[in-house]
């Protein structure tokens, strides 16, 4: 039986690994290669790497975080894939099929598209036709307004689109996406648990697997995401700030009766 997945998300900004809060605050936490290596040793299920840089500049102020001779995200990807014997999803700043190819040829198994897919939904179809649906992950950033209605945001959670998340997810599936990654803008880094209503809404709108992300503060939060319908549960910060994040995360899932790879 197919196992539910537990996935660490690494955020890359201008060549450095960062932690993120509400899509706005980014604090440098380390070296992009060493973290991936560590997760490989931990035997994690999968890894998602998101390049959230808004510019091409690379921040080389800190020596401990920077990687010698690696001057761009593609070079970092190439290096990460050398020690990554698990599935690797790469996202961020992908605008064309050639951008996808550049990442897949350097070791990414799947790519995510987000803002550009909203602007040009045919990018999903074009990518799926070349690389197969399974390689195309539609990443959707969702903002829940105060009146509790939800809306798709793009450009790193900055620009509202007027799109309804479920409808957009459904359209993405029709266009050929193989998976949906959902993130909640206002829950990013706040550690209060997933937006379970949102997970239920999206997973019932599509038939492809949904990866839930944003909001995990405790290992116990994962199981609720699975019970709400997610095929995989992802998180970023908890992997950096808690010890034994993989083993204890899996343990909490097993305890809740979820079928995971141990």
């Amino acid at each position: 039986m197919l196992k539910k997945r537990l996935i660490p998300v690494l955020l890359l900004k201008n060549g450095l690994l960062v932690r993120s809060e509400i899509f706005k605050i980014h604090q440098i936490i380390g070296n992009p290669i060493h973290e991936a290596e560590r997760f490989n040793h931990w035997n994690v299920d999968e890894l998602i790497y998101l390049d959230i840089s808004q510019t091409d500049e690379y921040d080389l102020r800190r020596d401990d975080g920077k990687v010698k001779g690696l001057d761009g995200p593609l070079a970092i990807l190439e290096e990460v894939s050398k020690t990554c014997f698990m599935p690797l999803t790469w996202g961020g700043r992908i605008k064309t099929v050639d951008d996808m190819r550049a990442r897949i040829s350097r070791g990414a198994d799947k790519i995510t598209i987000n803002s550009e897919a909203v602007r040009h939904p045919e990018l999903i179809r074009d990518g799926a036709q070349v690389f197969g649906s399974q390689a195309i992950v539609l990443s959707i950033d969702i903002f829940r307004h105060e009146d509790s209605h939800t809306e798709v945001y793009v450009d790193g959670g900055k620009t509202p689109t007027g799109l309804n998340p479920s409808e957009w997810a459904k359209k993405g599936e029709e266009m050929g996406a193989g998976e949906i990654l959902i993130q909640s803008v206002q829950l990013d880094g706040v550690a209060t648990g997933y937006d379970l209503d949102l997970i239920r809404e999206i997973t019932s709108a599509v038939t492809i697997p949904v990866i839930a992300c944003s909001g995990v503060g405790r290992f116990e939060d994962y199981a609720a995401g699975i019970q709400a319908g997610a095929s995989a549960v992802a998180a970023a910060n908890i992997w950096h700030f808690k010890e034994l994040a993989d083993r204890l995360g899996k343990k909490a899932l097993v305890k809740a009766g979820v079928n995971v790879r141990v």
């Binding site: 039986m1 197919l2 196992k3 539910k4 997945r5 490989n40 035997n43 299920d45 999968e46 190439e78 894939s81 050398k82 020690t83 990554c84 014997f85 698990m86 599935p87 690797l88 897949i104 040829s105 350097r106 070791g107 990414a108 198994d109 799947k110 799926a128 036709q129 070349v130 690389f131 197969g132 649906s133 399974q134 390689a135 193989g178 998976e179 038939t207 492809i208 697997p209 095929s231 995989a232 790879r261």
Partner: protein, 208 residues
């Protein structure tokens, strides 16, 4: 220096991780960009991320089909097909239209249709594999192994004697095949941590 593993670059997918997998085990690899290079390597790997039709089109247009048949089918060079590289061994494929495959192993590649409609396709993630022929890639391995899968289509064959393992995702399907020197897996051993690397290690030990 003999090259242990040649990896076919036909514009379909993740060659890097296959090379990384073999290199981590001490194997010397070469990315093959032209069919003439096939004679330079001891074993050949056909990886592949992508759609059946594009894969076959690229293989034929770049002149791989004839040379592969000469080296692998007639010459007996050890061959490993991964994911799409396994599917292309079939007679036909039905992804985005009807396409002819290499027809090295009689069979058809069709979309997975789960018994239970709540089971999600693509089949993405780790799943248990039931090894029915513990030889070749699976020599010395446990009967039940866990591998990483990413696919929506599966290989169907009437000749069950070529099947080395099965998996189940809404339906029972073929997870790997072996026909003489031709080995193939639907899952990604290069992405399946220790279990996967164990299979790549076995492939490195197979001689023509």
């Amino acid at each position: 220096m003999a090259i242990d593993i040649g990896i076919i670059d036909y514009g379909m997918g993740n060659l890097r991780s296959v090379a990384n997998g073999f290199e981590s085990l001490g194997g010397k690899t070469l990315i093959l960009t032209s069919p003439a290079q096939l004679s330079e390597v001891e074993r050949v790997v056909l990886p592949g991320v992508g759609a059946f039709g594009d894969g076959m089109k690229n293989l034929s247009e770049r002149g791989w089909v004839e040379k592969l048949e000469e080296q692998v089918v007639q010459g007996g060079k050890p061959f490993l097909g991964l994911c799409l590289g396994m599917q292309l061994l079939a007679t036909t494929g039905t992804e985005y239209g009807h396409h002819q495959g290499l027809n090295w192993i009689p069979g058809k590649v069709d979309r997975i249709v789960p018994r239970d409609p709540s089971i999600r396709i693509p089949h993405i993630g780790w799943n248990d594999v039931d090894v029915v022929r513990p030889e070749g890639l699976f020599a010395g391995q446990p009967k039940l192994m866990t591998f990483y899968f990413v696919h929506s289509y599966a290989f169907q064959t009437d000749s069950s004697d070529v099947v080395t393992s099965y998996c189940d995702h809404g339906m029972k399907f073929v997870a790997s095949v072996q026909y003489g020197n031709i080995h193939a897996t639907q899952f990604h051993p290069e992405k399946s941590q220790k279990h996967g690397l164990a299979l790549l290690k076995n492939f490195l030990a197979i001689k023509a």
